[in-house]
């Protein structure tokens, strides 16, 4: 297997853009990534697209060639990957695998979602399609409801509190306020977070990530080739994707994501590092409880310690181990299909030292955790300075 590196990154702003369509967002991010990597569209040998529900949100199908052709990429494989909120993480995993195996030297991976053209109940229904339609969803489960039930159980088993959940939201908004591309650049207080409108008890609107439009893209190459195009290639040291049951009621213990543990274990082994070595991370905070469980499942803290650690500030920008310096899905926004590749872009920016006001101090080894559904897909990527 050849070492693989990220040679270019490109992101659109995340937000609600009534005048932008899905394709224009993806094209903007893709062309930025090519420009950032000093590569022209004609040099791209394959296009991997992560998108969760473009056909449901917009009606458009056959998305990968629809987007790649608009960028000037022709005559190469162009394929869409769907894995709920881990769609572009999964596209990235498969693209890295193909480059590592020697199939291609130059691959563009993009993620995109256009969500805000539909009213919230319709968006809620489309998102629920990532759950089990014959069971939990038919009973009335939404994604906030599934994570609310996870939160209740976590509170029951480990004593996790509402304040600990709110601390995640407050911290991520603090970080997102410093991110010029974030959807909601506003600082919130603990009092506001606790008094938010209930969505699914015990979660309020401040525990939930945002419904956003946006796209992100990365250009990957074999590491040795990447050195010809950039002075700062960022190496993919470890990467793994694993799966688990879709329905929450089929999981033995809903306070942990088995797929996150198995994929993290594989990625750590591939990279030859341990959880304690990871200096900073972008994790999948689709809901505040998801960040608390993520830092436990990744081994940053012991099981049940995610809440107290978050409230104590361990994950703050200048804390012991910064988590979601970008603002996370909570503040940066969560255009579902763009999120996985967006996280990769954010980790790469940190390693390059280009994160501006959000720059973490220890920045040579970072991790991205992208979760699909209530844990049925997990993609873990470990990136480091090359």
């Amino acid at each position: 297997m050849r070492p693989v590196a990220v040679a270019g990154i490109g992101k659109t702003a995340f937000g609600a853009f009534p005048d932008r369509d899905l394709r224009s967002l993806a094209v903007e991010a893709g062309l930025k990534a090519l420009e950032n990597g000093h590569v022209s569209a004609s040099q791209v040998e394959a296009f991997y697209l992560g998108n969760f529900a473009g056909p449901s949100f917009t009606g458009q199908n056959h998305l990968a060639p629809y987007i790649s052709a608009a960028m000037g990429i022709h005559g190469v494989p162009a394929t869409r990957f769907e894995a709920a909120c881990a769609s572009s993480g999964s596209a990235f995993f498969h693209a890295v695998s193909a480059v590592a195996a020697g199939l291609y030297d130059m691959v563009l991976v993009a993620g995109v979602e256009k969500m805000t053209s539909q009213p919230t109940p319709k968006v809620t229904e489309i998102l629920a399609g990532a759950g089990d339609l014959c069971g939990e969803v038919r009973a009335g489960a939404t994604f906030p409801a599934l994570f609310a039930m996870i939160a209740r159980r976590h509170m029951h088993q480990y004593g996790t509190t509402r304040e600990q959940l709110a601390a995640v939201a407050v911290k991520n908004h603090q970080n997102g306020a410093k991110n010029p591309l974030a959807h909601m650049r506003k600082v919130i207080t603990m009092e506001q977070a606790l008094a938010g409108k209930p969505i699914a008890e015990p979660l309020t609107v401040y525990d939930c990530s945002l419904i956003s439009d946006g796209a992100a893209a990365v250009l990957i190459m074999p590491l040795e080739r990447a050195r010809d195009f950039t002075d700062q290639p960022v190496r993919v040291l470890g990467i793994a994707q694993t799966s688990d049951n879709v329905a929450l009621d089929e999981k033995d213990d809903i306070t942990t994501f088995r797929a996150v543990k198995t994929s993290a274990g594989k990625a750590y082994r591939m990279a030859g590092v341990q959880a304690g070595d990871i200096q900073f991370a972008e994790v999948h905070d689709c809901f505040t409880i998801a960040e608390i469980i993520a830092i436990e499942d990744l081994g940053f803290v012991a099981k049940g310690e995610g809440g107290p650690y978050s409230l104590a500030g361990g994950t703050c920008l200048h804390g012991e181990r910064p988590v979601n310096a970008s603002g996370g899905l909570k503040s940066k926004g969560h255009p579902v299909g763009a999120t996985g590749v967006g996280q990769i872009c954010d980790v790469v920016e940190q390693i390059r030292g280009q994160a501006g006001e959000r720059q973490v101090k220890r920045n040579t080894l970072g991790l991205a955790q992208n979760l699909g559904g209530s844990g049925a897909t997990s993609v873990i990527t470990i990136l480091g300075a090359a």
């Binding site: 109940p121 809620t124 009335g140 939404t142 039930m149 159980r153």
Partner: protein, 72 residues
């Protein structure tokens, strides 16, 4: 349809922001109920609010969704 009998609340929530199909139901209580033998099902709890550990009684299916009531 089979009678699911009694079970215990494994976890629960009350939903305020519904999917399109259930806009007229809110707020409603959703729960994962652990049945005898350990199998878990996701269903609704009608009437009095139930919490983790509470015993509930199945009473009917509506559109294939099991409905439970808290046992007094």
């Amino acid at each position: 349809m089979t009678d699911l009998g009694t079970g215990t609340i494994y976890t629960e929530t009350v939903v305020y922001s519904p999917p399109e199909a259930y806009v007229n139901d809110v707020p409603y209580q959703l729960a994962i109920v652990e049945l005898a033998g350990g199998r878990r099902v996701t269903g609704r709890v009608s009437g009095e609010r139930a919490q983790i550990g509470d015993r509930v009684q199945f009473f009917e299916f509506r559109n294939n969704v099991p409905f439970f009531k808290k046992q007094s």
